[in-house]
C-alpha cells in the first residue's frame, strides 16, 4: 500500500523537463554569479545558439580543479596567474579575456579606520591594519581572495592578527559575515551592488587601478578529456566575444551603474 503510494508520487515527480538541444557545463566564480549577469546572458545564449549552459558556481580555485579533472567543459574565472598556470600545464588550450569589473572595499558606514580618505588600495589596508579594525577575508583560494592577498603583500603587511578573520566562504556568505561583525571586506563591485543584506555597510574605497578584475574564458582540454563538448564550447566562446555579448555586458547596470566592461579581442 505504502509502496504503491510512494511509487505514484515518484512517477508523478518524473515529469520531463524541456531543454535546449545541446547542453554544456561551465564552472563560474561566485562573484560572477552573484552579479546577476548570468541571468541576462544565459537566456540569450540559449536563444542565439541553442545551447543550454549549466553553471556550477564555485570559487576560482575549485573551478580550476573541476577543469583539471574534466568535470566541466569550460570555466570563466578571474585570477590571471592561476589561469596562465592552468593553460601552461595543458589543462586548457587557451585563455580568452572577456570582460572586467573592479574590486571595492566595503566597510561600516561610520568608517572607523578612515579608509575613505586613502589615496590607494595599499593605504586602505595600512589604515585598517593600523587601527586594527576587523577585516573579513574570503580565505577560500578564490580569485577575490588571491587579489586580496596580493594587495596585502603590496602593502607590506602580513595579515595574521586577531582582527583578520578568514571565513573560508563564498562572496555572499563572506559579505554576510562582514556586515554581521561590522568589518571591512574586499568585494567585487557587482556582488556588492546585488547583495541584499547591506545594512549600514557601504563602499568606502574604489577606483585604484590595482583593483582591476579581469574575467577570462578557458575551454577545458579536449585532448585530455575526450568527453568534453568542444563544439559547444567553441560556439559559446565565439558568442562571448561577439558584438551581441559586448552590448549585453556593457549594457548591464544595477541602480544605473555599469558593472562590467567588455574587452575581448575579436577573433583573428
Amino acid at each position: 500500500m505504502i509502496l504503491r503510494v510512494v511509487a505514484v508520487v515518484i512517477s508523478a515527480c518524473l515529469a520531463p523537463a524541456l531543454h535546449a538541444s545541446e547542453t554544456m557545463r561551465m564552472a563560474v566564480t561566485t562573484s560572477f554569479h552573484n552579479s546577476g549577469l548570468a541571468d541576462v546572458l544565459l537566456p540569450r545564449i540559449a536563444e542565439d545558439i541553442d545551447l543550454e549552459v549549466q553553471l556550477l558556481v564555485v570559487g576560482t580555485g575549485q573551478a580550476l580543479k573541476l577543469g583539471e579533472a574534466g568535470d566541466v567543459d569550460a570555466i570563466l574565472v578571474h585570477s590571471r596567474a592561476a589561469e596562465e598556470a592552468f593553460v601552461a600545464a595543458g589543462h586548457g588550450p587557451r585563455r580568452t579575456e572577456i570582460m572586467y569589473n573592479d574590486f571595492v572595499f566595503v566597510g561600516p558606514g561610520e568608517d572607523t579606520a578612515g579608509a575613505s580618505g586613502a589615496a590607494s588600495a595599499t593605504e586602505v589596508l595600512q589604515a585598517i591594519a593600523g587601527t586594527e579594525a576587523l577585516f573579513v577575508s574570503r580565505g577560500d583560494d578564490s580569485g577575490t581572495h588571491k587579489t586580496e592577498l596580493s594587495l596585502w603583500e603590496d602593502a607590506g603587511i602580513a595579515p595574521e592578527a586577531a582582527w583578520y578573520r578568514a571565513v573560508g566562504a563564498g562572496m555572499g556568505a563572506a559579505l554576510n559575515t562582514a556586515v554581521g561583525m561590522g568589518a571591512y571586506i574586499l568585494s567585487d563591485r557587482a556582488s556588492w551592488l546585488n547583495f541584499g543584506n547591506k545594512a549600514e555597510h557601504e563602499i568606502v574605497f574604489s577606483g585604484d587601478p590595482v583593483l582591476f578584475n579581469q574575467y577570462a574564458f578557458l575551454p577545458v582540454s579536449a585532448e585530455r578529456h575526450p568527453h568534453v563538448k568542444a563544439g559547444a564550447v567553441e560556439k559559446l566562446e565565439a558568442w562571448l566575444i561577439s558584438p551581441t555579448a559586448a552590448e549585453l555586458i556593457n549594457g548591464y547596470a544595477i541602480d544605473g551603474e555599469q558593472l562590467f566592461t567588455f574587452n575581448a579581442e575579436p577573433a583573428g
Partner: protein, 234 residues
C-alpha cells in the same frame, strides 16, 4: 525578526501563487529524496531483518558500526561520492557527477545506516516475541525475515520517515555532488544556501518554511494512509 516575518509572508505567497520555479524545485527535492529512500530501504530493511534473526560472529560489530554511521557527516559522504564519480575518479566514465543520480547515491548512503539501525531495533524486539513460534514451525530463514518485516511494518514506517527527514533536509552532500545547477540539480536545501549567500534572507527563510511544510505534509499523508488499516497494531 523582520526577516522572519517577511519570510513567512513570502512563503505564504509563493505557495498560494503556485510559483512555477518553486514547484519545480520542491518536486525535485521530493523525487530525489523518495528515490534515495526507496533504494535505501531495499538495502536497509533486509539487512536489519537478517541481523535480527541470524546470529553470527561479527553481528555485534556490524550493529555497532551501523549505529555509529547514523551520525555520518553528509559533507564527507558527498566528498567521497564526488571523488568516486569525478571524471578523473574510478567511475568517471559514467559521467554521473552533477546529475540528480549522483545526489540520489549520496543521499542513499546517508540514509541507509539510519533506517537500518532503527529497523533493526524494532525487529529485534519483535523477534523476541516470535522466536519460539517461528522456530517451532520450522520455517526457513527467508520466511522468518519476511514475517518479521511484514508484522513490524508500522515500526519500519517510522524508520523510513526518519530516513526521509534526514534526506529532505540534507544539504552538505547534495551540494557537493549535485553542484546546485539551476533547473538540473537545484533542490530546496541548496536553493536556501544560495539565497542566504546572496543576502536574500527573506526568500531563503520562505524556502525554509516551504521545506518544513513539505516534510510535515509528507509525514501526515503517510500516517493518514496507514491508519486506514485499522486491524494492525500501532
Amino acid at each position: 525578526m523582520v526577516d522572519l516575518w517577511e519570510g513567512l509572508t513570502q512563503a505564504f505567497w509563493l505557495i498560494v501563487s503556485l510559483d512555477a520555479e518553486l514547484a519545480e524545485i520542491a518536486l525535485r527535492s521530493l523525487r530525489i529524496t523518495f528515490t534515495a529512500l526507496a533504494l535505501a530501504c531495499l538495502i536497509a530493511l533486509p539487512l536489519a531483518a537478517l541481523l535480527a534473526v541470524r546470529r553470527f560472529r561479527l553481528r555485534r560489530t556490524v550493529i555497532a558500526i551501523m549505529n555509529a554511521l547514523m551520525g555520518l557527516p553528509p559533507v564527507v559522504v558527498g566528498l567521497v561520492v564526488y571523488v568516486l564519480l569525478s571524471r578523473s575518479g574510478p567511475f568517471g566514465a559514467l559521467g554521473l557527477l552533477f546529475t540528480p543520480t549522483a545526489m540520489i547515491i549520496a543521499q542513499m548512503i546517508v540514509i541507509v545506516p539510519l533506517v537500518a539501525s532503527i529497523a533493526q531495533q524494532s525487529l529485534r524486539e519483535l523477534w523476541h516475541e516470535y522466536h519460539d513460534l517461528l522456530i517451532s514451525m520450522n520455517v526457513s530463514q527467508g520466511q522468518k525475515m519476511r514475517t518479521l518485516l511484514w508484522d513490524a511494518r508500522r515500526a519500519l514506517l517510522t524508520a523510513a520517515l526518519a530516513g526521509f527527514g534526514r534526506g529532505i533536509g540534507e544539504v552538505g552532500a547534495i551540494m557537493i555532488v549535485g553542484g546546485n545547477i539551476d533547473n538540473v540539480t537545484r533542490v530546496l536545501t541548496t536553493a536556501i544556501a544560495l539565497e542566504t549567500g546572496k543576502g536574500e534572507f527573506a526568500l531563503a527563510l520562505a524556502l525554509g518554511f516551504v521545506l518544513i511544510a513539505l516534510a510535515i505534509s509528507v509525514n501526515l499523508a503517510i500516517h493518514w494512509i496507514s491508519q486506514t488499516e485499522r486491524e494492525g497494531r500501532w
